[in-house]
């Protein structure tokens, strides 16, 4: 556009976008890397350290005396502290007080009179003149430079969780109609609010905006009461999929109507009048003209609503229940964390498991977000 596009200014643009992108993705990148790390490592070292070789202070427990072999009259327990992994031992020790007192290759005297030697490659030997006793093996403290190591264990654990497949389907069963139905309903309402003449229109628009702010938590008890009443009256369970669809619809409608109406108001009036002259009824106009032309707005709302219903836990718990059969994916994954909510490694992995579907939705709907849909209609 501008002749000076070769100027250093474009570099500033590239750099600042790159900076912003890094700032925005860095937290998520950290999570992604963490999810691929060993669960014990997660809480003791920063995720970025796992990208490069790192020097760590580690403890290795040698096998118990039952594995000792007699060799040349001496009792020996041998093995490798690195357990086959790559790396180099920089120092070692036998006591928690002095974990790095010895250089590799040196020999440390243990309390029981045994001698411990650890080599650079991690191989160790505990040699004793007498047979060693006890049940527990010797602790070997060592300092090692280990290359980065990643594992899919966390993901394996998440995917192996019982009922995860069913929960996945539950989530879809909740999220898809909860996304589509409000869009339909809101689109009709938005059209009426944008293009049909009737008294009280402006007030209604404002009320919709006002309802955006109603805290969800306020509604839970009155609504569940209502559901129970209706359920009792009709002799059906109170917690059904229909119930949660309607709930999600109710909570999502204000934003849907607000966004869609704002968009539809901007559509060219002539197109609708033209359709009217062509004999189309309001219904025809809506279905055949407004809906197709509102794709960008519909798609952006669909993305937002899908994200919200997919990631929701509270509404699903209240209106669908927390039982095994009806548990949604988020609920299932949160339950994996255990009663006291530890297991961050599962959290990290499950965060990425849940993100997959929303990202697919985002990518598939993103192409509807294009501008220029109205191109060619006027002028």
């Amino acid at each position: 556009m501008i002749a000076s596009s070769r100027s250093p200014l474009t570099w500033v643009v590239h750099l600042s976008v790159a900076l912003l992108v890094i700032l925005w993705t860095l937290p998520t990148a950290g999570l992604l890397i963490s999810s691929l790390r060993d669960k014990d490592q997660l809480a003791v070292s920063g995720w970025w350290t796992s990208l490069a070789d790192s020097t760590q202070n580690l403890v290795f427990r040698a096998p118990g005396p039952d594995t000792q072999v007699e060799k040349d009259g001496k009792f020996v327990i041998a093995g490798n502290v690195l357990e086959g992994g790559a790396g180099e031992v920089a120092a070692f020790g036998s006591s928690s007080l002095k974990p790095g007192d010895f250089e590799p290759g040196q020999t440390a005297d243990l309390n029981g009179g045994e001698k411990l030697t650890v080599q650079v490659d991690g191989s160790y030997e505990i040699v004793s003149d007498t047979a060693m006793e006890g049940t527990r093996g010797q602790r070997i403290f060592y300092q090692a430079t280990v290359p980065s190591r990643f594992t899919f264990d966390n993901y394996r654990e998440v995917f192996a969780a019982a009922g995860i497949g069913a929960s996945f389907i539950n989530s879809l069963t909740v999220a898809i109609p909860s996304t589509i139905i409000p869009i339909l309903v809101a689109a009709f309402a938005a059209y009426a609010l944008a293009w049909m003449k009737f008294p009280g229109r402006a007030i209604l628009v404002a009320v919709v905006v006002g309802l955006l702010v109603v805290p969800l938590q306020m509604s839970l008890i009155p609504l569940l009461k209502l559901y129970n009443g209706v359920g009792m009256f009709l002799g059906v369970p109170a917690k059904t999929y229909v119930g949660i669809w309607l709930a999600h619809m109710g909570f999502g409608l204000p934003l849907a109507i607000y966004l869609l109406r704002n968009y539809m108001v901007g559509l060219p009036r002539e197109i609708m009048e033209s359709a009217r002259v062509d004999g189309a009824s309001d219904f025809d106009i809506f279905v055949k003209i407004i809906l197709p032309l509102s794709f960008p707005a519909l798609a952006s709302f669909a993305i937002f609503q899908f994200l919200w219903t997919w990631n929701d836990l509270l509404v699903a718990m209240v209106f669908l229940g927390a039982g095994n059969e009806e548990l949604v994916l988020t609920g299932r994954l949160v339950n994996l964390l255990g009663s006291r909510g530890g297991n961050w490694e599962i959290l990290t992995a499950s965060a990425f498991v849940t993100i997959i579907v929303p990202l697919i939705v985002f990518f598939s709907l993103q192409r509807f977000l294009v501008r220029g849909l109205l191109a060619g209609s006027v002028k």
């Binding site: 809480a43 006591s95 569940l224 559901y227 229940g321 927390a322 609920g331 255990g338 009663s339």
Partner: protein
Amino acid sequence: AELKFKPGEDAKFNWASYEEFKKGHDLKGQTLTIFGPWRGEDQTLVESVLDYFRDATGVDVKYSSSENYEQQIVIDTQAGSPPDVAVLPQPGLIADLASKGYLVPLGDETQKWLLENYAAGQSWVDLSTYKGKDGTAALYAFPYKIDVKSLVWYVPENFEDAGYEVPKTMEDLKALTEKIVADGGTPWCIGLGSGGATGWPATDWVEDMMLRTQPADTYDKWVTNAIPFSDAAVTGAIDEFGWFAKNDKFVAGGAAAVSSSDFRDSPKGLFSSPPKCYLHHQASFVPSFFPEGTVVGEDADFFYMPPYASKPDLGNPVLGAGTLAMITKDTPASRAFIAFLQTPIAHEVWMAQSSFLTPLKTVNQDAYANGPMKKQGEILLNATTFRFDGSDLMPGKIGAGAFWTGMIDYVGGKSSEDVAGGIQKAWDAIK
């Protein structure tokens, strides 16, 4: 489902109680919904217990849990669609539910049974008795699955390396603390972080200190606010905790790290190389946060948080916590479930698998999965005083709110008087 232990096979289980229960209850076709706090591994365990109930009665049991079970139970009961049975760890919340009339009294039979069969039966009955909607007290809950909180965890080999002994008295413990510092180490790992519940581990400390510096009835007055929170007895206990936690040298990372370290991460300091700390105060559940492969009893062990030698009359007080089962909908199945919890087998099945303590005297102590468990069971059985976690007994706004926040402020530098005064003010506000 397949039963975890085949009935009749392992002699350490009390199969007779199971068979007897089976005979007395045939509820085929009925359903029972249970809402409880156990998730993850715990959920698998509780399901394995429930399998026996299913097998015995033919009831279709649906267990569910949720991260927000606290809100969920409030919403569900308030809206009129509670589960049949609810299991909750907070007596405060249970009191609230009872006072609103959402719970069904368990009856005198059960009360009598508790008195007879639970060690320190009266304290359990007291714990489970609440005022109903009409203001009359009744037994509303059934304690099941207990945690002992008065435990200090350590790594025996580290003690060995440094030549430390397990202290027998509080004075010893304090001396050990100072000795470790003198040796150039850091004695304690304390982490109060727990997301939205940050602060709760400190309340356990304070409660343990209360029981070790004050008689049990002062403790009871404290949790019912019969004495104000700002009472000298309470601030004294808080300062006892402060002796450990507010000293930069005593805690890994210094006092500032206390409130921000996550309680799930802080025990890991015991195992690092070189060790970040030597001691960690936490309840019996903590091994799930030890590094993978840690064998309790060998790689890590615990000792009873010792009493003051200078206060021998206080005996060996034990602080604990646990879950209580309540009937939220009176059906034959839910009654049967409470009856089931009275059978030894309902305890033994869980005991035999993992961390589960019970005050039920009729269970076979050999059924405990391992030595340390059994040791904890013994602490529980040997307790001269047993008290339930005080913060759980207090109203939610205090025990799960002002108390937590107060402890954070305290560790952050406020004086115990200021903090206690603030908590008392909050308590006044909800009366």
